[in-house]
Amino acid sequence: MYTILEKQRLSDAIVLMVVQAPHVARNARAGQFVIVIADEQGERIPLTIADHDRQAGTITLVIQEIGKSTKQMGQMAAGDAFHSVAGPLGHPTEIAAYGTVACVAGGVGIAPMYPIARALKEAGNHVISIIGARNQSLLFWEDRMRSVSDELIVCTDDGSYGRKGVVTVPLKELLETRADEIKKVWAIGPTIMMKFVSLTTKPFGVETIVSLNTIMIDGTGMCGGCRVPMIDGARFVCVDGPEFDGHLVDWDGLLSRMQFYRNEEQLAVQRWERLRETPTHECHLDKVVPLRR
C-alpha cells in the first residue's frame, strides 16, 4: 500500500505528500521521478521525487493541482493510499563539483529543485538559487532553498514578494556580471520558463540543464508518448531524461506537443468538478467496500 503518511498544503494549488514507497526510496536520487496512479480508474502521472528517506521508506511528492488527476490527488488525505507508485524512473542529476552553479526554479519546480541544489551544495559547489512564482501565495520552500544555497534570489511576477519580475531577469544580470564564474545552470519549472531560461543563458555559452515533464504513459520506454523534439532528433524523456541540455531542445515543438490533449484535459476537469459539486446519486459504495480512511 502506498499510504500517504503526511499531507501539507504549500499554497492554494500545491500540496506536499510524504508517501510510503520503500521500493522507490531505497534507490532514489535527486532528479528522478515516479509514476503515480490515484485510483483504479486513474491515469499514470509522472511526478518528480522532491525528497526521500531511505530509512523510513518514504518519498516526498509535491503536486500542483492542475488537471483532473492532480486535483483528485490534492483531495486525498493522510491515511489514504495511491493505487500505484512506480520508480524511481529516469536518470539522476549528474552531481559533481563544478564551482559556482545557478539553480533556477519556478512555481512547483521549486520542489524538485531542492534535492538537486542540496546535492550540489553537498558536493562543494557555490550554489546561487533563483526561485520565483506568479505571486506570494504560490511561493513555498524559501527557507529550505535558503538552507542549501549560498545566495538566494526570490522573485514574483506581480511583485507581491521579493523582486518584481520573472526569474530570467536576475539570471541575466548574474550572467552579465559573473558569466565566467557560473559553470552550469539548472532550470525546473513551467516549460515556457525553461525555454526562456535556456534562451537567456545561450548567448553566454553556459551549459543549461532542464528537467522536462511531458505527456507520458508507461514511463518505462514503451510508448514514445514522452518524446521530445531536439535539434538532433527526438529523445524519450522517460529513459533518456528527464534532464536535457536546454540549448538542444526544440522548445516550440515541445510546447506544441504538450497541447495535444488540452481539450480532453479540460473536459476531465469540468466533469470531475461537476461530479464533486452535484453527485447524481447517493453513493452506496462505502457499504460494500470498506473505506480506507
Partner: protein, 485 residues
Amino acid sequence: MPELSNRERMAIPRHEMPAQAPHERIRNFDEVALGYTWELAREEAERCLQCAKPRCVDGCPVGVLIPQFIRALRMGDMAGAVKTMQEKNNLPAICGRVCPQETQCEANCVLAKKGQAVAIGRLERFVGDFELREHTSRAQPGPPTGRKVAVIGSGPAGLTCAVDLAKLGHKVVIFESLHLPGGVLIYGIPEFRLPKSIIRAELESAVTNLGIEIRTDHVIGNTYTIDELLNEYDAVFMGTGAGLPSFMRIPGVNLNGVMSANEFLTRVNLMKGYRFPEYDTPVKVGRRVAVIGAGNVAMDAARSALRLQHMRSAQDGEPPGEVHIVYRRSRHEVPAREEEFHHAEEEGVIFDFLTNPIAILGNEKGEVCGLRCIRMELGEPDASGRRSPVPIAGSEFEMAMDTVIFALGTSPNPIVFNNAVGLERTRHGTVVADPETGRTLKPGVWAGGDVVTGAATVISAMGAGKRAAADIHRFLSDEKLFNVG
C-alpha cells in the same frame, strides 16, 4: 458416440467459430470470436486422425500434447483434457486466442494440405475456457527446494518460466514494472481479441495456486539492478520483452497526431482509454487514420481505431471516418496472423499495399494533415526471403490524414540494462542468450522472449520461458554447477 473411421472423420468439414458480426463488433470492444459450443468442440475434435507420429506437436513451441488432449475432449473427459494441456501449457485460454496456429501446429496437421487442418487453436481455447469456469485442476507447487528465482517481467515468457519453476518447488518472485501483471497481453493485445478477464483469471489460477509472488511497480534496472537481485536470488530470468517503439526517419514524426502503436494501444488497453472520461486516460483518434505496418500490432491498432471512430460516430452522428493500413509490401507478405488480417478486412479497414510514407504533412497548428507516400513494386528477394519493395520513380502522392500510428516493430525495453555489467547485447539491443537454454553471458542470468529475439509471438516467448526454466532447474539442482555459479 461410436468410433468413426478415418474416412468418416475426414468427411467432417472444419468448424468455424461463432463470432460477432462485423457491423456489430465495430461498435464495441467485446470479444470478436465467441468460442466453440460444446457440440462444435466435440464435432471438431472428431476430425483429428490421432496420427501415430503427430507432426502438429512439432509445430508447437511448448510441445502441447495435441492428439492426447483432443482425444480426451472427444471422449468427454474434460478434466483429462485440462490435465494433458497443463502438462505443457498453463495458459491455454490465452494461447488458443493469440497463437498463429496456421503457421505452427495447424500448418503441420495432415489435413492442412486440403486447407482443412483440425482447428487445434479453437479446441485449445475451448479447453482453457472450460477450466476457467469449472476449476477441475489446481496446479500444485513442487516440494520446496529452498532455491529462489527472480523473474523480471510478467508477460508470456516470464509467466511461463515462473510457473514451471514453481511447479518444480523453487520459490519465485516476479517483478513487473507496470501496475498490472501480464505484459504485452495486458498493454498490447486489445480486449476484443483477448479479454482482460481471461488474462486475470488464467494468471490468477496459475500464479495463486503455485504461490508465485508478483511485485508490480518494480522497474528493474532502477528499483533494483540485476546485480542487486543476484545478491538475493539464486537465479534471474529476464523476460522483459521488446517495447521500445521505432518511428520512421521521415519529416513530420513529431507533429501532433503521430504516435506509436504501443502508445495508442497502451492508452486503449492498459489504461482503458476507450472509456474516457470514466477512466482518466484519454485516447485521441482522428477521422482519417493511417497505421503504418501490417503485423499483428498494426491490425490491433487499426481495429481499435476503427472501433473508437464508430463509438464516436454513435455519439456525434457524424460519419465515423476511415482507417488505412499503409504497407510497403503486398498482400502476400503481410506478417499478421491470417485471422487478424481477415477480421480487419471484414471490419472495413482499408489496405494500401505497396505504399511507403515519405513525409507526414502538418498544418500551421503543428497537427497532422496528410501523408505523402510513394508507390512501390516488388524486386528481388531480400535476406528474409521476401521480395523487397522498390520505390517507383515519380509515383509520389498525398493522402489526407489526421492521425498516423507507427506499428513498425519494437526493440528491447532499455531500463533493465542499467548497470547490468557483463550482459552482452547485439547491435539491435537484444540480449545474447543461448536459444536452447536461455543462458546469457552473465552468470546466474537467463533471458527469453522478445528481449532475446526482438518482437515475435506470445507462444515463442512462452517456449523460451519454458526452455529457460528447465535449464535454471538443472543449474539449481546440480550442486557442482550451483556452488560455482
